[in-house]
């Protein structure tokens, strides 16, 4: 039963060999950029179109809720959205409701703003972190100054020229929430549901399928899902060689191998007759 013993070996393979193969096939395409095509989906294009349609000087809110653990997916997305906003001379208000990401997000905002010569307080404002997100979101619907008397750097909001006359969501053209948590529900519930703000979401790939329902119901106008969504957005703003696009090669190759492993695993499962013993 040589055939059977081969498949038995496949079934009994040490999983660390699989880790090693996935590690290698993911690592190699990062070193050598191939440039596999990335197709733009309508849900990502909708976010791009909305920002593209806003007149210069409009205020876009880009709340970013991610931490180092999810930065690999959401940081390229945030950077692409911020680059688009600043390149269109839109003003940006940002918050960070995930405590581990407060400093990370501040750095991203500062670096991208500097790329486009934007000035803090004039062109963008960073409100930082506040606990109990749902209460903060509700309060922001009344006035940003209630939950955020001061910005992240300690300045009173009324001291910042960009915030003159900007009180709540009604003064914001749209919100693009980049979120790695279930906090995205709160944005749908309070900012969009309670106060009627135009909302789009940028979420990790794990979360993406949960939020397509809200896209279909019209509660959000766009959805950027995971690194693929980030790559699409980079492509739309003409930055085809940024980190998300370069990473898509590795994603594609790794996916092919994972599918291959699933197929081989299933064949081995049936050939060795294990399904009968279940």
């Amino acid at each position: 039963m040589a055939k059977s013993s081969f498949w038995q070996k496949v079934i009994d393979i040490d999983r660390r060999w699989i880790y090693l193969v996935i590690g290698i096939v993911t690592f190699v395409p990062i070193l050598k950029y191939i440039g596999m095509p990335v197709a733009v989906t309508s849900e990502v294009k909708a976010v791009y179109d909305m920002i593209e349609s806003l007149p210069p000087g409009s205020i876009v809110m880009v709340p970013m809720e991610f931490d180092p653990a999810t930065a690999a997916e959401l940081e390229p997305m945030s950077r692409a959205v911020l680059r688009h906003c600043f390149s269109r001379n839109l003003k940006v208000i940002s918050t960070a409701f995930m405590i581990d990401g407060v400093v990370l997000i501040e750095r991203d905002l500062r670096e991208i703003a500097a790329e486009y010569g934007k000035e803090y307080g004039q062109d963008y404002v960073y409100l930082g972190y506040k606990p109990y997100m749902q209460i903060v979101l509700l309060n922001m619907g009344e006035n940003f100054r209630k939950p955020f008397p001061r910005d992240y750097y300690g300045a009173r909001l009324d001291e910042l020229p960009m915030m003159f006359g900007v009180n709540n969501y009604s003064n914001i053209s749209c919100i693009v929430n980049i979120n790695a948590t279930s906090g995205a529900d709160y944005w749908i519930n309070y900012a969009s549901g309670r106060y009627g703000a135009k909302l789009a979401l940028g979420v990790t790939a794990v979360m993406a399928t949960d939020y397509y329902a809200f896209l279909q119901s019209g509660q959000i106008f766009g959805l950027i899902g995971g690194l693929k969504g980030a790559a699409e957005y980079e492509k739309l703003i003409g930055r085809n060689k940024d980190v998300a696009n370069r990473s898509m090669d590795a994603v594609s190759v790794a996916h092919v191998f994972i599918i291959l492993f699933i197929v081989i695993g299933n064949i081995a499962f049936f050939v060795t007759g294990r399904q009968k013993r279940l």
Binding site: F27, I30, T70, Y132, N189, A213, A254
Partner: protein
């Protein structure tokens, strides 16, 4: 290009070392992995306290409390208003301090009061809105007029057969049909008060297929998510090696 200093290399090397410590768990559990795991828990706790103090406690409690105390030393204004403001600013702090009663077994029950207050407020605020956003709006999105769907599909097919080009509205209508049918069949699978036989059984079977397709899509996205995280770490390790190269002028 930003200059790479010794400090940059030192911090990047620490982060790279910790990344490798975490990866070592893929081989098997070991002290290096546990060291990195404990470190992240400890550092996070300290970091959270610092961030919470600087971004929340100072401007939402300490400053307003200080202002309401100093208001007593300023002329004008009614005493009742000043006293009311002081009480309003003391109360949140007091309620928050009750949480520390958990440190003592005899008084730990007191900590239930701030928890109850927070849960009560959250539930009161959230429930009506959650029902609206996550139930009513979702149900409404599935209430599509079948005549509209079939009308759109028929119109598109007419254009296709008469003029040879499609407006793709057929597929939009087809998608809406799948959503409505999928939703009804999915719900049929979870309806346990009738035996899954006949029409009900058929609908439940379609419901299982719809659910499996949904789980498959979620699994696919999850795989992409995990691979993305691995890529993120690999990108970091590559930037670490290149930073060392820049520092040593290799």
């Amino acid at each position: 290009m930003q200059e790479v200093t010794f400090g940059t290399v030192l911090w990047m090397t620490s982060a790279a070392f910790l990344t490798i410590c975490i990866f070592s768990f893929l081989y098997r559990d070991n002290p290096l992995y546990r060291f990195a795991e404990h470190l992240v828990v400890g550092v996070s706790a300290g970091y959270w306290i610092a961030i919470l103090y600087h971004t929340s406690l100072t401007d939402l409690w300490i400053e307003p409390l200080g202002a309401s105390i100093s208001a007593f030393g300023q002329p004008g204004g009614s005493f009742v208003a000043k006293f009311g403001a002081l009480v309003l600013n003391i109360l949140p702090g007091l309620i928050g301090l009750l949480m520390f009663s958990r440190f003592f077994a005899k008084t730990s029950w007191i900590s239930r009061w701030p928890i109850a207050f927070y849960l009560g407020v959250s539930a009161g605020v959230a429930l009506p809105l959650f029902l609206q956003s996550f139930v009513v709006r979702q149900v409404a999105a599935n209430m599509v007029n079948p005549a509209d769907i079939f009308g759109t599909m028929a119109a598109d097919l007419t254009i296709l057969f008469n003029y040879g080009n499609s407006t793709l509205l057929f597929w939009q209508g087809f998608g809406e049909l799948i959503i409505v049918v999928g939703c009804i069949c999915g719900l049929a699978y979870f309806y346990f008060s009738a035996e899954h036989k006949g029409i009900m059984g058929g609908a439940a079977k379609v419901g299982i297929w719809i659910l499996m397709i949904g789980f498959g899509a979620t699994f696919g996205y999850t795989v992409m998510s995990r691979i993305s995280l691995l890529i993120g770490r690999f990108n970091y390790l590559i930037s670490w090696v290149s930073a060392i190269g820049d520092f040593l002028r290799i």
